[in-house]
Symmetry: C2
Subunit: 220 residues, 2 copies
């Protein structure tokens, strides 16, 4: 690339990163909303979350088109190519996280029909960690911050612990009281969705690591 | 592209497709094995399934590297570019399907500890449909067969129906008999994993449709 092409390419990469951050911001917001909808049995908020999925899908398509145009016009090599491949992979993960937020919102609507058999304390905490992990993973991408990746992986351990502990706890409730089976089973699914979102964030981290180092490494 | 480059590019695309078919074949095999392991309480077979995940991860990396090399060396445009982007996306979905087969195998190991409270009939049937869908989706990709995509989407409806019916049935068992909660809850997760695999196959179908037509359309 000559100097002018380089500058223009860098400019477009920056734009791409900004788009990705905005996409991630929408999903982070959806995560916050769907869990709030669950806790407060707020069907309208759940519907709002579900509707936001179109925004995420729009970003997904726009960013992909943007990537393909960059690939076609600029024919980047080595690290630049790896960066664009990373964006293509990361948007798939982020889009899927949005789908899980929709799943949680749909489950929140079902559960809103009657009062929950117990107040929800740990699920919002688990969701908070996941939101933070998502934000940090995209920061790590934009700021080339591989040290941050290690921290996110530690947070993922906390999410796994919540997953195990909450599932055991909810199974215990179901065994003791058949009348809570329906609700507890759906809460287990929500816990599972949150854990999956964290898995996708780990994918993003591995991808950032690869982009920065050229090495694929399992971070979890 | 000149004629020679064209021929070489087409040859490499064909190789890429063959690699993808082999990767899909491994995952299809894993799906078969993990459900057989579940039904027959065969821990060794479950472990074998889990170990096969490394093969899938290897394909994932090889194919991606192959795609990036093609992008860098051949600088393809338009449809060729869309094809390579499709492969990059499809391998992510197929790799994730392999992860779900591993999840099923791990759950099969847990459930193998004691006899199941009921014989499994519908889960193997559901898994069979999913295996067929996976095979067909990759055939549709390789053979540019958009008509086949419609058929796969119909099969996805059957998977969704199994998901709903089996979940309801298992919740019913749990409500009636607390002693089956632990097993039934894990069977619900397996049903959910199969449904997710079918979702990923739908992603593959949408991607094939996009590659063939240049239009993104929700097929489900």
């Amino acid at each position: 690339m000559d100097q002018h092409t380089r500058a223009s390419f860098d400019e477009q990469l920056r734009e791409l990163q900004q788009e990705l951050l905005r996409m991630g911001g929408v999903v982070e917001q959806m995560l916050f909303m769907c869990v709030k909808a669950l806790v407060e049995r707020d069907v309208a908020l759940a519907d709002e979350t579900i509707n936001m999925d179109d925004i995420v899908d729009g970003y997904n398509l726009d960013i992909e088109t943007h990537c393909l145009r960059l690939l076609a016009l600029q024919q980047p090599m080595a690290r630049d190519l790896r960066t664009i491949a990373a964006v293509l992979k990361i948007i798939t993960d982020v889009e899927r996280m949005g789908d899980y937020a929709v799943d949680i919102a749909k489950t929140a609507k079902i559960l809103a029909e009657k009062p929950l058999f117990k107040p929800l304390v740990d699920i919002p905490r688990m969701a908070e960690i996941v939101q933070r992990m998502l934000r940090e993973s995209l920061q790590a991408f934009v700021n080339h911050d591989t040290a941050l990746l290690e921290q996110i992986v530690t947070e993922d351990d906390a999410v796994d612990n919540y997953n195990r502990a909450l599932t055991d706890e909810l199974v215990g409730y179901m065994e003791k009281n058949p009348s809570v089976v329906y609700q507890a089973m759906r809460l287990i699914l929500i816990v599972r969705y949150l854990e999956r979102i964290a898995d996708h964030i780990t994918n993003v981290c591995e991808r950032v690591y690869y982009m920065e180092t050229g090495t694929l490494k399992e971070l979890h």
